[in-house]
């Protein structure tokens, strides 16, 4: 199965997206839980503090009132003991006691049976506050009202200690909740003789209990030492049931436990649940003193934590919304990442393909170097820096048969489209230049080919040149490109006809041009990427800068490679950090005609046919020296004789005496002769070949000489320079194989 990075990446991101959401949710929930726990504990702690403080406050308030009663009773016990001798003073004692404390609604001084013989078996002097505030006193003791068996009398007598009775309901119609404080009265000998009690209304209890609440709906449970309910939300249960009875109905062992603890006078806190599952906090604590009462505060958890719960729910919703939003964001992100990844993969693919394309393009460009002929040396260097990965500039060159074929061009546009056309242009140059005769023909054929298939209306400016390395003769054709610069003693422009760029008109007739490059001068060709290189201020490097730079280094004898390096340095110094705006291409070469230093000889002849044998001797001698066989030597002798005889015959007006120089040199590959004369310009290479197929009657007498020269020699080159004709004849050695 084919590996698909896209699919794999998408799945990975999807999984990690879900994982991210889950992690975020878990984290949020964990934080919430910790926060909840912490807050819950804090609130519970706070609630406990508040409940304890409430219980304490109420305990103190209750105690305060009871204490007043206790003190009042105590004081009057003292009074009663002092007045024991006067039985009727007991009315005054109880009256005063009732009068003194508004919470005391009645008081009785009850004597042990038969204490006063005058009063009979029962004697209980009783004072009571009537509703109008008047205090009445009376004797209550009787057989119907036998107080000796009543709690308020019996227990203090038995224990000989002051005591709060269990609360009870007034037997009168008011059914007021009452409790009685009883204190024993002793005679001077210390015998317990009576009990002084105060009936205390517990009306105030509700006031005190409702004073302060832990929470709005909290309620109180006040129970007596026997578990009798003294205060309870269900008023019907008050004084009718014990807390145990109420609790038993609920069948909650915890409540029974609380009941037990409250009865035992313990304090604490418990959490209980009701039948509906609602939770309640029960705080309980005994009331001080010796009442044996126990008070409990009950708070609903819902209420205590109600607000907090609401908030928690709200936060929960917030978290859910948050997670949903996060999920959405992750989803979008994943989708975008997927898309981005797709784009990235695509971009990487294109990038790598572009990089390969760049390598291919760069690989097409010749690498520069040195080409050595027997008497000349070409040094050449090219440079192409594309602005993008691939570029539309091109240069190319190759050396064949002592000729340098070169071109430099600029395809309209940049990037891949330009690069495609660039490769086409370069390929065309390579193939066309080999068979086309001369630069103009090369350009013409290239243009034909490119115009035909130019649907995208792109064009190429091109400069094509063919340099005869031996003669320095440059045959060139400019197709809308800039003029090359010639760097010799002076810096000058090569004269160019603009013509038209390639790909514009298929039938355009390109005009070729010619020049002779002096030995040791450098030709510099470039694309507008050089002169139009822009700096950060969008200023262009410019032609002037380029010419100035070339002027500066013209005498330094820089090699083409060094020249280009220097120029690139100048351009970089100018543009600084500005991004490259266009492809930068330069080509520079220098052809030195060194002459035959080692294997060179020359002969100077007069313009007379009589010199021919001398020439022939020279040629034979030199050709043999160069290693040619007899037959080849004869051929060479013939060719040289024909070429030289031609000069002697035609170059000079008859009667003039002039010199003809024949230079010869050879290397391992070829032998070369150059015939130099100062006669009238004549290019033998331009003469049509004699037709050797004609019948004897039609054959011309002349014209055979040049024909023979061409047939024998591998190369015949002519250039007119320094007002001289230079005719070079080259014969290559046969391959040894």
């Amino acid at each position: 199965m084919a590996y698909n990075p896209l699919k794999r990446g998408k799945r990975l991101i999807g999984t990690s997206g879900v994982l991210l959401i889950i992690t975020a949710a878990v984290l949020l929930e964990l934080i919430a839980i910790v926060q909840y726990k912490y807050s819950h504990d804090e609130i519970t702690k706070n609630l406990r503090l508040r409940a304890e403080s409430e219980l304490r406050a109420k305990d103190l308030a209750i105690q305060n009132i009871l204490k007043q009663v206790e003190t009042a009773v105590e004081n009057h016990v003292w009074d009663a003991e002092r007045l024991l001798a006067y039985p009727d003073s007991s009315y005054a004692v109880t009256r005063r006691l009732v009068k003194q404390n508004s919470n005391i609604i009645g008081s009785s001084l009850s004597f042990i049976p038969n204490y006063y013989s005058s009063k009979g078996y029962w004697f209980e002097s009783y004072a009571v506050r009537r509703e109008n505030g008047a205090i009445e006193t009376m004797q209550l003791g009787s057989a119907e009202h036998d107080y000796t068996g009543m709690e308020f009398f019996e227990i203090p007598v038995e224990t000989d200690r002051a005591r709060w009775s269990n609360p009870y309901l007034d037997s009168d119609g008011a059914r007021m909740l009452l409790t009685t404080y009883s204190e024993p009265v002793h005679d001077s000998s210390g015998r317990l003789v009576a009990v002084l009690d105060a009936d205390v209304s517990l009306d105030w209890l509700d006031n005190i209990l409702s004073m302060q609440y832990v929470s709005p709906s909290s309620y109180h449970i006040l129970m007596s030492r026997t578990g009798q309910l003294m205060s309870y939300p269900d008023k019907g249960k008050v004084m009718r049931s014990t807390f145990e009875e109420v609790v038993s109905e609920m069948k909650d062992t915890l409540l029974l436990d609380i009941n037990r603890r409250m009865l035992a006078g313990e304090s604490g806190m418990e959490t209980v649940s009701d039948a509906r599952g609602d939770k309640y906090y029960v705080f309980y604590s005994p009331i001080g003193g010796n009442t044996g009462w126990s008070l409990a505060v009950v708070s609903s958890e819902n209420e205590v934590f109600g607000e907090y719960e609401k908030m928690r729910i709200r936060f929960l919703w917030l978290r859910i919304v948050g997670i949903v939003i996060l999920g959405f964001i992750v989803f979008r992100f994943v989708r975008n990442v997927g898309r981005l990844q797709k784009i990235t993969v695509e971009r990487e693919r294109i990038g790598s393909e572009l990089s390969i394309a760049r390598n291919i393009q760069m690989g097409m460009l010749p690498k520069g170097g040195v080409f050595k002929g027997s008497s000349e040396m070409l040094e050449i260097e090219g440079l192409l820096v594309p602005a993008l990965e691939v570029g539309g500039d091109l240069y190319d060159y190759y050396v064949k048969d002592n000729r340098l074929y070169f071109c430099i061009g600029d395809v309209s546009g940049k990037g891949v489209p330009a690069a495609l056309l660039m490769t086409v242009t370069r390929s065309l140059f390579r193939s066309v230049s080999t068979y086309a005769s001369g630069a103009a023909k090369t350009v013409e054929y290239m243009n034909l080919s490119m115009s035909d298939m130019n649907d995208s209306n792109m064009f190429v400016t091109l400069f094509v040149g063919v340099l005869d390395l031996i003669s320095g003769k440059l045959d060139y054709c400019n197709a809308g490109h800039g003029a090359p610069v010639l760097i010799g003693k002076e810096v000058s422009r090569l004269d160019v006809v603009p013509n038209l760029p390639l790909g514009v008109y298929s039938d355009f007739k390109y005009q070729g041009q010619g020049a002779v490059l002096p030995s040791d001068c450098t030709l510099f060709v470039y694309t507008d990427g050089l002169t139009e290189a822009k700096n950060m201020e969008y200023a262009e490097f410019g032609e002037e800068n380029m010419i100035r730079t070339l002027e500066k280094i013209k005498g330094n004898g820089l090699l083409p490679a060094e020249l280009l390096e220097y120029m690139v340095g100048e351009v970089n110094r100018f543009v600084k950090t500005a991004p490259q705006s266009d492809d930068l291409t330069m080509l520079a070469f220098c052809c030195k005609r060194t002459g035959c230093s080692e294997n060179g000889e020359k002969i100077v002849l007069k313009n007379s046919l009589e010199e021919i044998p001398r020439l022939n001797g020279f040629v034979v001698h030199f050709a043999e020296k160069a290693g040619f066989d007899d037959a080849e030597v004869l051929d060479l002798k013939l060719a040289l004789e024909e070429a030289t005889a031609n000069v002697i015959d035609y170059a000079y007006p008859s009667g003039t005496v002039a010199e003809i120089v024949v230079e010869a040199c050879f290397d391992e590959a070829e032998i070369r002769f150059e015939i130099i004369d100062s006669g009238k310009a004549f290019d033998p290479t331009a003469v049509a070949d004699a037709d050797v197929s004609l019948d004897v009657d039609e054959r011309e007498i002349g014209g055979l000489g040049i024909f023979l020269v061409r047939r024998i020699m591998d190369e015949v080159r002519y250039v007119r320079s320094d007002d001289r004709n230079h005719l070079t004849l080259i014969k290559r050695k046969k391959s040894k194989i």
């Binding site: 021919i612 022939n616 013939l638 004789e641 024909e642 050797v692 004897v696």
Partner: protein
């Protein structure tokens, strides 16, 4: 370059010796005048001793051939060396001349 002309019956036999280069052709042309003037006689050029020929020589040969043809006589080239045969071949002279 040496040209020796012998008359035998109806034939003029010219024996060419040496190198017929451009310089020598001047003299050889004069030597050939006898052949040019020999009306009706067939001409034989014995090239056994001819070592070299330039286009000037070829031109003389061609002139001679044209004259002979015009006079209704023949021109035969004998004992030509390989090197010269090659030149003849290059120039298309092989087809024009009767070479033996």
């Amino acid at each position: 370059m040496k040209t020796t002309i012998n008359e035998e019956n109806d034939k003029m036999i010219a024996v060419l010796e040496g190198e017929l280069d451009t310089a020598a052709a001047v003299q050889t042309e004069k030597d050939f005048q006898l052949l040019m003037d020999s009306k009706g006689k067939n001409i034989v050029l014995d090239c056994t001793g001819l070592q070299y020929i330039s286009s000037s020589g070829l031109r003389l040969f061609l002139s001679l051939l044209k004259r002979a043809k015009a006079n209704g006589s023949t021109l035969t080239i004998e004992h030509i060396s390989d090197n010269i045969k090659k030149v003849f071949s290059m120039t298309g002279f092989s087809a024009l001349f009767d070479i033996r």
